[in-house]
């Protein structure tokens, strides 16, 4: 086609070919030496591209990103999640990570710790140290931080949710005993217990009490440690439980609103609080839908903060932490997951996230191996330093397709949030089982789409190979670990002042009954070496425990659920 036009033109105009080519290729900026250029052609690049009246990156409502400079000065933070076996083993792994120049640590907690049960409780059969590190008391936190170059640790993240107030107390006492200035350090808590009910499942207390305790943490940090990050409102787990991209952001936003409402009721200044919050989302593989999702999530949150809470426009940006979607990984032909994780990471970066964690390709089989975890860091480094995707801010901005997707996703998300609000808000929607039901429905629909082939998964329902995966893995802990954990806990129990433990726990019980902020009482209990399990049991004595939910499906396939708290 082009060739035909070319020859017609030449004969009509009588021009020669070279002159014609020059006429159609006017001024191309020759990049100044030292200026930013694109890959091999070395054309000069602007920081961002936008027609005059269009939204600029770093301006309200932040669909184009939280800062005007995007990744131009600094790439996103590569956040990895680690922790296993015992405080001592995890301490050694953290030292190795810090030696490679990593500045943020993320503490993966084992499941007993996440649900407030001590390692020596008979209920925790086989789970101590399996998916993270056990933290039973301040002594374990001291062992975890022992000898770490704390000046280098700019940020310490943790998955504490239902136990966030107890975890905060344990960290504060440990910093105090180590003589570390809390202001030199940033604690970054997940502290989103509401999402534990419909997804992830490490709830302890009923939803309303959980909301109260989460905001106790927010309030305590707002007053005493204003540089810390008290909360991420989370969509990731909603998505991984089977939710759609719309449900993911909608449930996270609805939960975020519940925390903000309670914070406002207590007189916490939302304009100061909002910029310390993070949004934690999944990065799925549908590149443009995902990029648009991050843009929509930022925009609707900014509008909410400004229009409902009166936050000044400049403080309405929400930082996003993205994790590549674990549920998208396949156990069949597991190496294919390397490609999936790469595209998911690309989608997150095109969406302008601030921190990105990448899964490891072997996670559909077991906990990640060291080599697979290294590969997932390398995946991000290749994206940051080789791919050129970070050369301009919000490269998708202005794409008719992506802008339209962003706008329509935002509308769909807001409509879903409205439905949750119609149920009476997050807490009621959780108690009624509404959120759990919509997620189970979406998960089943996706399963059916994979079975029917409507949703192709390469190597699974699309051109599967006959060979069975021979991949095998195990969950064996290094020898002697359990003995270490138990003897440390035994030593804590044997050497503490039993009266101080009883008194501080009694004071905690009274604070809980009186509806006070619990963090100060928890700090006293943690200092006296009350264990996490003892603090949790004391609070459960006042607030009760969530009962979980069950479901019966008749032979017709009709589901009836029974949710509820006790």
């Amino acid at each position: 086609m082009a060739m035909t036009n070319l020859s017609e033109r030449k004969s009509a105009d009588g021009d020669d070919l070279a002159a014609w080519l020059r006429r159609l290729s006017p001024e191309i900026d020759q990049a100044e030496r030292g200026g930013r250029q694109c890959g091999s052609a070395q054309l000069a690049l602007q920081d961002f591209y936008a027609p005059d009246m269009a939204e600029r990156p770093g301006s309200f409502p932040f669909s184009r990103g939280v800062s005007a400079r995007g990744y131009l000065d600094d790439h996103w933070v590569i956040g990895m999640y680690s922790g296993y076996a015992s405080p001592r083993e995890t301490n050694a792994r953290f030292k190795a990570l810090l030696a490679t120049g990593q500045t943020g640590l993320s503490i993966a907690l084992d499941l007993p710790t996440q649900v407030g049960i001590d390692s020596d409780d008979p209920q925790v059969l086989g789970e101590v140290g399996k998916v993270g590190v056990p933290i039973n008391s301040v002594d374990d936190m001291l062992a975890l931080l022992d000898g770490l170059p704390i000046h280098q640790v700019k940020q310490m993240r943790s998955t504490a949710n239902a136990i966030a107030p107890m975890f905060l107390a344990i960290v504060i006492v440990a910093l105090e005993e180590l003589g570390i200035d809390p202001a030199s350090f940033r604690l970054f808590l997940q502290n989103d217990p509401l999402k534990e009910f419909p997804a992830r499942g490490t709830w302890i207390f009923p939803p309303a009490a959980s909301l109260k305790m989460a905001v106790d943490v927010v309030e305590y940090i707002a007053v005493n440690h204003s540089g810390w990050q008290p909360q991420q409102y989370c969509g990731y787990h909603i998505r991984d439980a089977g939710g759609t991209a719309v449900q993911e952001v909608a449930v996270a936003t609805a939960n975020g609103i519940s925390y903000l409402e309670e914070a406002r009721r207590r007189g916490i200044d939302i304009a100061t609080l909002a910029p310390t919050m993070f949004l934690f989302l999944a990065a799925g593989i549908d590149i443009f839908e995902e990029a648009a999702k991050f843009r929509a999530a930022r925009r609707l949150w900014a509008r909410l903060l400004h229009e409902r809470y009166g936050v000044p426009e400049s403080a309405c940006h929400i930082n996003i932490f993205a994790y590549t979607l674990g549920g998208a990984l396949q156990a069949k032909e597991p190496f294919n997951n390397v490609a999936r994780i790469s595209y998911e990471a690309l989608a997150a970066v095109l969406g302008g996230v601030q921190t990105l964690a990448t899964s490891s390709w072997d996670e559909a089989h077991s906990l990640p191996s060291q080599e697979a975890a290294n590969l997932s860091v390398r995946t991000q480094q290749i994206l940051a330093h080789e791919s050129g995707v970070a050369n301009v801010v919000d490269p998708l901005g202005g794409s008719w397709y992506v802008e339209d997707l962003t706008t329509r996703l935002e509308s769909a998300i807001l409509a879903q949030v409205a439905q949750i609000v119609d149920c009476g808000g997050s807490v009621s929607a959780i108690e009624d089982g509404y959120i759990e039901d919509i997620l189970a429905e979406s998960a089943y629909r996706e399963f059916q789409d994979i079975q029917s082939g409507k949703k192709p998964i390469v190597g699974v329902n699309f051109k599967p190979r006959e060979v069975e995966s021979e991949w095998n893995a195990d969950f064996v802990l290094p020898p002697g670990i359990l003995d270490d954990v138990m003897s440390a806990l035994g030593k804590t129990r044997a050497t503490r002042d039993g009266d101080a433990v009883r008194t501080t726990l009694e004071r905690l019980r009274e604070a809980a009954k009186a509806g006070e902020n619990l963090v100060a009482s928890l700090i006293e209990a943690a200092r006296a070496r009350a264990t996490l399990g003892e603090m949790t049991d004391t609070l459960a004595g006042v607030f009760g425990r969530h009962a979980g939910s069950a479901m019966t499906v008749g032979a017709s396939g009709d589901a009836t659920g029974s949710g509820g708290s006790k």
């Binding site: 086989g126 195990d474 499906v553 032979a555």
Partner: protein, 149 residues
């Protein structure tokens, strides 16, 4: 439960997650899928204990139990469930396990009384294939119950 009720379903299955791991997407999908295939299914929710499972299995006179586990504690859990089923006098009920169950643990689980293991990435996970496996488990339990009576 009367004999007529039994005839109307392909079998009664109890699905549960044991231990503290709360990721139950797979357990819920299995529950719905077996329901669509004509089974009557009870999902007991996350953090079910071996004793709760045995009690529910007894109360509902189930023909098979499906345990989902991602936390790595499967071998310990299998032994505990077997002991509780024996204590409840229903050790004829067949038990299957799925989730993150490494291939290498299949033998140990078999020895602990687990009739079928579903390993990541292996075997046919289509509804008809899985329902076929549950037919076998149901038949195994019913044969076991008859030989006892």
């Amino acid at each position: 439960m009367s004999a007529t009720d039994r005839k109307n379903t392909r079998g009664r299955v109890l699905v549960a997650k044991v231990g503290l791991d709360g990721h139950d997407r797979g357990a819920k999908v299995l529950t719905r899928m077996l329901g669509d295939q004509g089974f009557e299914v009870f999902y007991l929710g996350v953090r079910s204990t071996p004793r709760q499972i045995a009690l529910k299995a007894f109360e509902e006179a189930v023909d098979a139990i499906a345990i989902s586990l991602l936390s790595g504690a499967h071998v310990e859990v299998a032994h505990a469930i077997r002991a509780e089923l024996q204590a409840a006098g229903i050790d004829h009920v067949a038990v299957s396990m799925g989730g993150l169950i490494p291939l290498g643990d299949a033998e140990a689980l078999h020895a602990a009384g687990v009739s079928r293991c579903f390993h990541p990435g292996r075997g046919d996970d289509s509804p008809t294939a899985v329902a076929g496996i549950f037919d076998e488990l149901v038949a195994q339990s019913r044969a076991g119950a008859e030989s006892k009576s």
